[in-house]
């Protein structure tokens, strides 16, 4: 009894220390938003005194005539629209795999999964060449279009649709519902929880995608936050640490709010990195 009590305490200490490690950068980022550059250089672990939070925030929003607003709106546009398109298209495809015994089913599924394994890296460079020929470089479509392909969601949607019972479709058939109605009114409600989970995962991964906009966007006005914040400099081109930190903070706040409020939908599905 003594032994297990002691090990319980040891485990607690380990868990608390690890929690400290995982929390620390969040803490440091948050207090960083209250400091100007000379306060940052003091290397203290306490919030800046006097606080420069308001200064930093107003400077971030005033930076380059308010380009930060553009970045935020772009991020929302790319993530909200791209995620919806990707998951909705995947829901349609998943329905086809569940409902119909069609020619080429097996082959198509294997092909889709096989292409899912090709890293995004290998497609981004050719996409750049393709978009250059189509005059799409430095337009919002260059980010939106590739974001609307969500192969992972197709794979997951096939498994979600497979969990919908045959009775659901039989009942729809008896009611004389056509295929589109069956999908829209009867099928879709059954996969909505999975739809939301995939939407949130896609939203986060588009919000966080740095490489695609880095390659296809040049104008600051069309950059998403994740790319924009890496371009913050003073007029001479030197980094402005306090502004970069404050902007980084605002970049992750929407993610943290989403994660905290919608925690039950963020079930880890499979490893995505």
């Amino acid at each position: 009894m003594m032994r297990s009590r002691r090990s319980y305490i040891v485990f607690t200490v380990i868990l608390v220390l690890l929690a400290g490690f995982f929390i620390f950068p969040f803490y440091w980022l948050t207090i960083g938003t209250t400091k100007n550059v000379s306060q940052l250089f003091q290397k203290s672990l306490l919030p800046g005194r006097p606080s420069h939070l308001q200064d930093n925030v107003s400077q971030v929003f005033a930076y380059q005539n308010g380009v930060f607003w553009n970045w935020g709106l772009n991020s929302f546009l790319y993530a909200a629209v791209g995620a919806f398109l990707g998951v909705f298209i995947a829901a349609l495809a998943g329905y086809a795999f569940r409902k119909y015994n069609f020619i080429g089913k097996r082959l198509l599924f294997v092909l889709i999964i096989a292409f899912a394994m090709v890293p995004g890296f290998a497609t981004t460079l050719p996409l750049f060449m393709l978009f250059r020929d189509l005059n799409l470089i430095d337009t919002r479509f260059a980010v939106l279009l590739p974001s609307s392909v969500n192969i992972f969601a197709v794979y997951m949607m096939v498994t979600y649709w497979n969990q919908v019972e045959d009775e659901v479709f039989d009942a729809a058939a008896i009611d004389g519902a056509n295929d589109l109605t069956t999908f829209w009114r009867i099928g879709l409600p059954n996969v909505i929880p999975g739809f939301i989970t995939l939407y949130l995962l896609a939203f986060v991964s588009i919000w966080n995608n740095f490489f695609l906009p880095l390659v296809v966007i040049n104008s600051r006005a069309r950059m998403p936050l994740i790319l924009g914040i890496t371009t913050i400099t003073d007029p001479q081109g030197f980094p402005v640490y306090n502004l970069t930190l404050t902007a980084s903070f605002f970049t992750i706040v929407p993610l943290l709010i989403m994660f905290v409020s919608l925690q039950r939908y963020f079930k880890p599905q499979i490893y995505m990195r």
């Binding site: 290397k43 203290s44 349609l92 086809a96 119909y100 015994n101 460079l125 060449m129 966080n208 914040i229």
Partner: protein, 295 residues
């Protein structure tokens, strides 16, 4: 076409109507670009001029020591970061199990870093290790270590290790924990009756049952290690890193700093082939899982 029933044809037509939106974006934005990439990799290029050279790019890449040196960091991550992370994640998952309800508060806190983009954790951690701002300097001076330079090029692999462990260990522990609670209770109860202790049950009984999920996690992380870009890219703002610090950085820099597009595409093809070789295992089991049912 007589061997295909009319009903099957009708089903096929309907199915492809539902599949059409996906097929359009999939072919246009994934399949075609990959084909284009493979084709471009067979071309020589100077400025806007391009001409067919066959496998010349590949021959040059195989002789390009800059390309192969760029794999040092992925290999380091594969051999050090991934095993360390899987070990830590498994230990943490066992610790969750000792808590009531699996320690939801700990799980929540440990998961948080995963929600943060690699660029932001790159920014924050590179500042935390920087000479001008590091909050670690006051701590180190307590131990008599004044003015130690933390962010040097020699230390970057270690710093990458910290950043990536910070980002992914909690998430991985969550995944291991999900597999852990799926193990039937009877196993550990039987062992308990035989007098096995907590850690004996963990290592002798549960760990072998986690082999499958751990192999899958290892492969996903190996793929991630091959493509690492964002974190070293951000660290590169505060410490000078070579153009070929990782394969992904070398590909990006070859294309956009040096304008060697077709050469970069060929390197992309090689990197994709290496990654796909890793994913073969997962591809097989995923196909089996889905296609084994309802067809």
């Amino acid at each position: 076409m007589t061997w295909i029933s009319k009903a099957r044809l009708k089903a096929t037509l309907k199915a492809y109507l539902f599949l059409a939106p996906f097929l359009v974006v999939f072919i246009g934005l994934v399949v075609y670009p990959i084909g284009l990439g493979v084709r471009l990799s067979l071309y020589g290029q100077r400025g806007a001029r391009m001409w067919y050279v066959g496998l010349d790019n590949y021959k040059r890449i195989f002789a390009d020591s800059m390309f192969w040196q760029s794999f040092k960091i992925p290999l380091f991550l594969l051999l050090v970061q991934v095993p360390v992370m899987l070990f830590l994640a498994t230990m943490i998952a066992f610790l969750y199990e000792t808590r009531k309800g699996g320690g939801p508060v700990y799980r929540f806190i440990y998961y948080l870093p995963y929600t943060i983009p690699g660029i932001v954790s790159g920014i924050v951690w590179s500042y935390i290790f920087s000479d001008s701002m590091s909050p670690l300097h006051p701590l180190l001076s307590l131990f008599g270590l004044e003015n130690v330079k933390l962010l040097t090029r020699a230390n970057v692999p270690g710093i990458l290790l910290v950043i990536i462990l910070w980002q992914f260990t909690g998430y991985t522990a969550f995944l291991v924990y999900s597999s852990l609670i799926a193990i039937p209770k009877e196993y550990s109860e039987a062992a308990q009756i035989d007098g096995a202790g907590l850690w004996q049950i963990a290592f002798r009984i549960k760990l072998p049952l986690l082999k499958g999920p751990l192999i899958t996690l290892f492969i996903f992380n190996a793929i991630g290690a091959m493509q690492v870009f964002n974190e070293p890219w951000m660290l590169g703002n505060l410490v000078v890193l070579p153009l070929n610090y990782t394969p992904a950085m070398y590909i990006y820099n070859s294309a956009f700093s040096q304008g060697r597009f077709t050469y970069a595409t060929a390197m992309g093809v090689i990197l994709a082939v290496i990654t796909c070789a890793f994913s073969w295992y997962i591809l097989r089991s995923a196909g089996r899982q889905i296609l084994g049912r309802r067809d």
